[in-house]
């Protein structure tokens, strides 16, 4: 086997040093009641060529070649070939968490730069080295707000991605005293803050903007409402490109920002791995989960970087740690940093504008084709429309052409009858959109 380097002679010599007769004898300490009685029932071993054929066959039988006109938490975007090329360097890819700073300055400087670029994107000064994904970053934001405010109640907008709200429920399930209060959607496709008034001592309001309907929320009003109630605003996003054109959540009053960074140079990858983003204010740093890289100097006064404030983390504070997170999405964060460095601030803004233009064009063409707006508010990349009759059948029929014509919203929002979510990014050209409209008509 090509990954197992020991020759029979090596094994013999090493066994002699150890003083046992065979490889199996190394496992004599395993008592019979814990011992495996039957061989591993697995296919293989496959040669490299057999393996490629098998896995390439699976990929060919997968969804990678579909034309998808919706995001719903996962967006197709162009990625310069430079990014995966550099990210594939094994010095980055095959290293561990940078616990020995002298041997991992590359990773550490890259994390420090990542933290800085994300902080500039969201408008809050402290960013961690990543969480698993957007949904877990949101759940951790709720837990963090509970610690900061020493309160329990969690309030979430119903216009946050439904999957992310499911993850929040999963995380909070053992806390039998905590009820998750869900704020309804208003007719304008934005969160209705009115019921917040009746929540006793809310720790946090969790928002997403643009929300699941693509609508840009009024975060300053959200901040006003939750701050008046003594809680924190945690504001999230699933489409980072929106921040190329919008005000930062930090500047609008968010105390915590969580987000999904998949748009920053990461493929859709059937949903993972992607990149959980999380930022906050300096005053809350001791309740902030995740790894942090910090700048310092070495014994000769040279600039260098280390992991810092580790006393918050599980390997030191154990049961009193702010989170159990250990491995995060480090390599996805590195990839995102490479992407941000590649596109630059100027390019990011231009590309965000292309996204907006293309999506608005798709929206306008669908309206011409008989769809009706669900709500009048401004949107980015995605939007919800009420479909003309017969569209559901058309949606089914288009699957035969490997086209996913939007996503029905009724499963999560029964009140939005016949409403569908659509979207387009810079990967859909005018010609793509025109061809799609011709199919939908």
């Amino acid at each position: 086997m090509r990954y197992l380097p020991h020759t029979p002679d090596d094994i013999k010599e090493m066994l002699a040093t150890v003083g046992v007769g065979s490889l199996d004898d190394l496992f004599k300490m395993i008592p019979p009641d814990s011992r495996r009685q039957r061989p591993l029932d697995l296919p293989g071993p496959l040669t490299e060529w057999e393996l490629s054929e098998k896995v390439e066959g699976l990929a060919a039988n997968g969804g990678g070649d579909w034309k998808v006109f919706v995001g719903a938490g996962s967006q197709p975007h162009h990625v310069p070939v430079l990014v995966p090329y550099l990210a594939g360097r094994s010095e980055f890819l095959t290293s561990y968490t940078p616990y020995q700073p002298e041997m991992s300055q590359g990773t550490l400087q890259a994390i420090f730069e990542f933290q800085t670029l994300i902080s500039r994107l969201v408008g809050l000064p402290v960013t961690n080295a990543s969480m698993y994904d957007g949904s877990t970053a949101m759940a951790e934001s709720a837990l963090m707000a509970q610690r900061v405010t020493k309160r329990r109640a969690v309030v979430v907008s119903s216009l946050v991605h439904p999957h992310w709200r499911e993850v929040l429920s999963t995380y909070l399930a053992p806390m039998e005293d905590v009820e998750i209060v869900t704020l309804p959607a208003g007719a304008d496709g934005r969160t209705d803050f009115a019921p917040l008034k009746s929540v006793d001592k809310p720790a946090v309001l969790l928002m997403q903007s643009p929300n699941f309907l693509g609508v840009v929320e009024e975060l300053s009003k959200a901040a006003e409402a939750i701050h008046a109630a003594g809680g924190l605003l945690a504001a999230g996003f699933s489409e980072a490109y929106a921040l190329g054109l919008l005000k930062t959540p930090g500047s609008l009053g968010a105390d915590i920002v969580f987000g999904e960074g998949q748009s920053l140079g990461l493929g859709q990858g059937f949903g993972g791995p992607t990149l959980g983003l999380m930022s906050t204010k300096m005053e809350y740093v001791r309740q902030f989960p995740g790894r942090l890289a910090g700048r310092t100097t070495d014994k000769n006064g040279k600039r260098g970087f280390v992991l810092t404030l580790s006393t918050r983390e599980q390997h030191i504070r154990r049961s009193k740690a702010v989170s159990n997170i250990c491995s995060n999405a480090g390599h996805c964060a590195l990839t995102a940093a490479m992407f941000m460095a590649s596109i630059g601030g100027t390019g990011f803004r231009q590309m965000a504008q292309v996204n907006l233009d293309r999506a608005e064009y798709l929206k306008a063409e669908l309206l011409k084709a008989g769809f009706k707006p669900l709500c009048p508010s401004p949107t980015f990349n995605e939007f919800a429309l009420v479909a003309p009759s017969g569209f559901a059948q058309k949606h089914e029929a288009l699957k035969g052409k490997k086209i996913m014509a939007g996503l029905s919203l009724e499963k999560w929002y029964p009140q939005f009858k016949d409403a569908w979510l659509f979207g387009a990014t810079e990967t859909k050209t005018k010609a793509d959109i025109d061809a799609f409209i011709a199919e939908v008509k």
Binding site: M1, T17, L23, L26, F27, S34, R36, L42, V55, A59, N61, G62, G63, D65, V68, S74, L86, G88, E91, T97, P98, Q100, T107, F112, R120, P125, T127, D133, G134, H163, E166, A173, L245, L246, G267, Q268, F270, G271, V285, R291, L292, R295, T296, N300, L309, Q314, A321, S327, N328, A329, G330, C332, G344, G345, G347, D357, Y361, K399, K430, I433
Partner: protein, 492 residues
């Protein structure tokens, strides 16, 4: 230096180039990414919502390429050299796995596509779940958790859900002293306080001790087997039977599964749920921090509580099943770290039943190192180990040489240091895990380097106390970094 030390890949003079921070480079208006013309009418957002966009530096493609290439040269990976980081299983990361994970069909697959569009992805998930259950001898598995600690959380949430469903009032969890920090942190997230279980004199759990601590309000035991001292917990089946009888469940921490594939049967032991760290056992790259993936495998008892949705096979079609009334629900944006799991799938198929041999060689390498080093370094538990062995600095301490100094000296000799100061139950621990992919010559080179360090500690401790001297930066000031944290660069 002995002749053998010739193979120590010590650094010579190095070609270490300096490199500025990203925002210290570039000029506004440069770009290394093409932006297409929109080709459609320009749209705009209302002025009250519009912002300026992020102040990121603008760099050319070559500037970006050089920046990250230079940074990479300050890093050390498994491809650079031996990385015997105990408890982290830094084995070789096969390149075919990367190629498979980067197939455009997988990279571009939208997770919200209907099942009929993603039969290939669903088949891979379905088969890997089957294989992972088979390897540990349990009933089923689920790939959704995002990393090892997330798998732990998944496992403990399932145990919590089980007890709540059965109206069992449970508030505590038994926690051996050797546990990774993630175990008590995870228990706390599920509302459990910990009862610390001391070890017996041979470094393993003892039935009598656990039996005395077991009470009716104990939800279960979190146990790593082999434990973090690299020792097999051989009283475990008896302990588990007792806990099961008294209403508790068993969480198995799979951090050390690389030691026992094909040799131990977690189902027979009585484990109810175990997580995998795929970056350890199943060879996926750690990427300098992640992403990992933390699949869990379960017994019959916890099967109904697995996260959802689940892939099921109906005839020759794969489908999603969301009708899971007892499921703890969703734990991830979508279905887990899919492209990490593609790598794990490729690895399992590459070895197949030979995974057993991988474990055997991992254990052989560790025992060989233990035998060769036990005269030079203090070995607190001198008995056959599994995939890792734990030494201390006790023999070097009288010369004012610490575990940290030993670690830093190894850097100058071209090795990543072992895990240091863990497990906490051993004072000043040095925990070595070679893994099975290191060949005998490289293991011998590491042993020679360790013996060299022990000699240096005797003859000239200052060599260790001043190490490393060959790296770009040396002994960074972590105290100032923590007292006055600088976590971002220029925020203007």
């Amino acid at each position: 230096m002995s002749d053998k030390c010739q193979c120590t890949p010590a650094a010579e003079c190095g070609l270490i180039l300096n490199e500025d921070l990203l925002w210290e480079k570039g000029r506004p208006g440069r770009s290394s990414m093409s932006v297409p013309e929109s080709g459609v009418p320009a749209a705009s957002l209302p002025a009250d919502l519009a912002g300026d966009g992020p102040n990121w530096p603008d760099l050319s493609e070559q500037e970006v390429a050089r920046h990250y290439t230079r940074l990479s040269t300050w890093n050390f990976g498994v491809d650079t050299g031996m990385y015997p980081l105990g408890s982290c299983t830094m084995k070789y990361n096969p390149k075919i796995n990367e190629a498979m994970a980067n197939l455009p069909g997988f990279v571009n697959a939208h997770p919200m596509l209907p099942a009929e569009a993603t039969q290939g992805e669903l088949q891979l998930i379905y088969e890997l779940e089957k294989y992972l259950a088979e390897i540990v001898g349990l009933k089923a598995s689920c790939l959704q958790p995002g990393a090892g600690a997330h798998g732990e959380l998944c496992g403990m949430l399932m145990i919590s859900a089980y007890h709540r469903h059965n109206k069992n009032k449970k508030t505590k969890v038994l926690m051996p002293e050797t546990a990774h920090g993630t175990n008590p942190a995870t228990a706390a997230m599920c509302g459990y306080s910990e009862i610390k279980v001391p070890l017996g004199p041979n470094g393993a759990l003892e039935y009598a001790t656990v039996e005395k601590l077991m009470t009716d309000d104990v939800a279960g035991l979190m146990v790593t087997n082999p434990n973090t001292l690299g020792l097999f917990e051989n009283e475990l089946p008896k302990i588990i039977e007792m806990i099961h009888q008294r209403g508790g469940l068993i969480y198995g921490d799979g951090a050390n599964l690389n030691a026992i594939m094909g040799y131990a049967d977690l189902g027979a032991m009585g484990i109810d749920v175990v997580h995998y760290n795929v970056h350890k056992t199943l060879s996926t790259p750690h990427g300098g921090g992640g992403p990992g993936a933390g699949p869990v495998a379960v017994s019959d008892t916890l099967l109904p509580y697995l996260p959802g949705p689940r892939v099921v096979k109906n005839g020759d079609k794969y489908e999603w099943n969301s009708d899971l009334p007892l499921s703890i629900g969703r734990l991830h944006n979508f279905y887990g770290q899919f492209r990490v799991l593609v790598r794990a799938y490729a690895y399992v198929l590459s070895l197949g039943p030979e995974l057993k041999k991988a474990s055997a060689l991992a254990v052989l390498n560790a025992n060989y190192i233990k035998e060769k080093l036990k005269h030079a370094f203090d070995l607190p538990f001198d008995q056959p180990c599994m995939h890792e062995c734990v030494f201390t600095d006790a023999k070097q301490a009288p010369n004012k040489v610490s575990t940290l100094d030993i670690a830093k000296r190894l850097i100058d000799l071209g090795y990543h240091p072992p895990t240091v100061y863990f497990p906490l139950v051993v004072h000043n621990a040095i925990m070595i895990e070679p893994t099975e992919t290191e060949c005998k010559e490289d293991i011998d080179g590491f042993i020679a380097a360790m013996l060299q360090v022990a000699e240096d500690a005797k003859n000239d401790p200052s060599i260790l106390q001043n190490a490393p001297i060959k790296t770009k930066v040396q002994r960074l000031d972590e105290t100032t970094a923590a007292r006055h944290p600088i976590l971002t660069g220029d925020m203007s």
